[in-house]
């Protein structure tokens, strides 16, 4: 019996050790960083959300004001939102290739939170090469200073739904504002950007 107790203690200790493993200090070695891509990695630096996940791309279309497929051509300094401290935004200048919902010209301005410690130059250097699909919320009327920074006077500014920022990566895709693991199953089973586009038209 004493041997059993000793072995139980050993096994519990081992289980506890597994639980106690600290995260490595070098964040670039974290699992998933390579899959996420540098641009999404930068956008997610120290920014987290409690959000209502959409059930599928078709559901995201229902929640969005505008849905486009395009390429991010440039990123520039945006406005500062009125709430919180130093709530600096960065504006993505997106060349629109296809509009899946709503109406827009050939360029759309999309703001994202610019994380503390992440410069416009860092984001610009990491711009995705592939296409993006953006499920967008119109944020033009949100209170901010520097109201039209980073976009032409009178133009609208949008922000992606948390689970509505798809970035083409190789033959697959990554999620811009939240890890793909946090998306609902109907999203994560889609292998390519074209699969996501196909899934916007119905459940």
């Amino acid at each position: 019996m004493s041997r059993l107790l000793a072995l139980l203690t050993l096994c519990f200790a081992l289980a506890g050790c597994a639980a106690a493993a600290p995260a490595p200090a070098d964040v670039t070695t974290q699992p998933g960083v390579a899959d996420r891509g540098e641009f999404a990695h930068l956008l997610q630096t120290g920014v987290s959300y409690d959000f209502e996940p959409t059930d599928s791309p078709a559901d995201a279309v229902r929640h969005a004001d505008l849905v486009v497929v395009g390429r991010v051509k440039q990123i520039v300094e945006g406005r500062i939102l009125a709430y919180g401290r130093s709530n600096q935004q960065a504006n993505m200048v997106v060349q629109v290739q296809k509009t899946l919902k709503g109406s827009v010209g050939d360029t759309v301005y999309v703001e994202v939170s610019q994380p503390s410690g992440v410069s416009i130059d860092m984001l610009e250097a990491a711009l995705p090469n592939g296409r993006v699909i953006l499920f967008l919320d119109d944020r033009t009327d949100v209170e901010a200073s520097g109201e039209e920074s980073g976009r032409p006077a009178g133009s609208s500014v949008y922000t992606p739904l948390v689970d509505g920022f798809v970035i083409e990566s190789g033959t697959g895709w990554t999620s811009g504002l939240v890890d793909r693991d946090s998306l609902k199953a109907a999203w994560s089973k889609l292998a390519t950007v074209d699969d996501v586009i196909g899934a916007t038209s119905g459940d």
Partner: protein, 196 residues
């Protein structure tokens, strides 16, 4: 002392392993099973210490203060971390500023590191922004508000959305008003107590 490995001891090991596995299952799966404090929007970075101070940012709605206090008190009660309210926010000593916000569609709350202690790893001071209009769209709004406070406070110490999704770290509206959705499960408590 070495224990000779015999058929009998092999049986003991097997029984002990099963017992240990059962224990781990009961208290939560190993904390290494999901990300913690990694550089992703799922987890947030680590806090800068065992003490987690907080204050009300400019204009923070009095109606939300009880929910925020409840979330901080819960962190203190459930884990080895302790909370401390500061009546006056201080950029050097306050770990969390709470704010009302007009967040994008579908976003109930957000946690942003404003000042890094170690870039990308340890945050010195966070903003937690809450949008009641996005929370009060279903039922059980009061419990739902405290859930989102608990969720964002969880991000501010490094917790993720990922499995096991049996506590306030789930995304979106709570499944019921059960207390489990406004607290941390044993798995997440283990993560916190391992770190702080």
């Amino acid at each position: 002392m070495q224990i000779p490995f015999t058929r009998a001891s092999a049986g003991l090991v097997a029984r002990a392993t099963v017992a240990a596995g059962l224990l781990v299952t009961l208290v939560g799966s190993p904390a290494s099973a999901d990300p913690f404090g990694t550089w992703t929007s799922d987890t947030g970075p680590f806090a800068d210490g065992v003490g987690h101070t907080y204050c009300w940012g400019s204009g923070f709605d009095a109606a939300l203060q009880d929910n925020a206090s409840a979330a901080m008190t819960n962190l203190d009660a459930q884990t080895e971390m302790f909370d401390s309210f500061q009546a006056t926010c201080n950029v050097v000593t306050t770990d969390i500023y709470f704010f009302d916000a007009n967040l994008p569609a579908g976003v109930r709350g957000s946690t942003r590191c404003v000042t890094w202690k170690t870039y990308g790893v340890v945050c010195d001071s966070f903003d937690i922004e809450i949008d009641p209009a996005e929370i009060n769209v279903g039922s059980d709004d009061e419990a739902d508000t405290t859930k989102t406070m608990c969720h964002e406070v969880g991000h501010s110490v490094g917790l993720s959305h990922l499995a096991p999704q049996t506590d306030c770290m789930i995304s979106g509206e709570i499944p019921s008003t059960a207390a489990q959705w406004r607290t941390y499960n044993a798995h997440h408590v283990s993560h916190i107590n391992d770190r702080y």
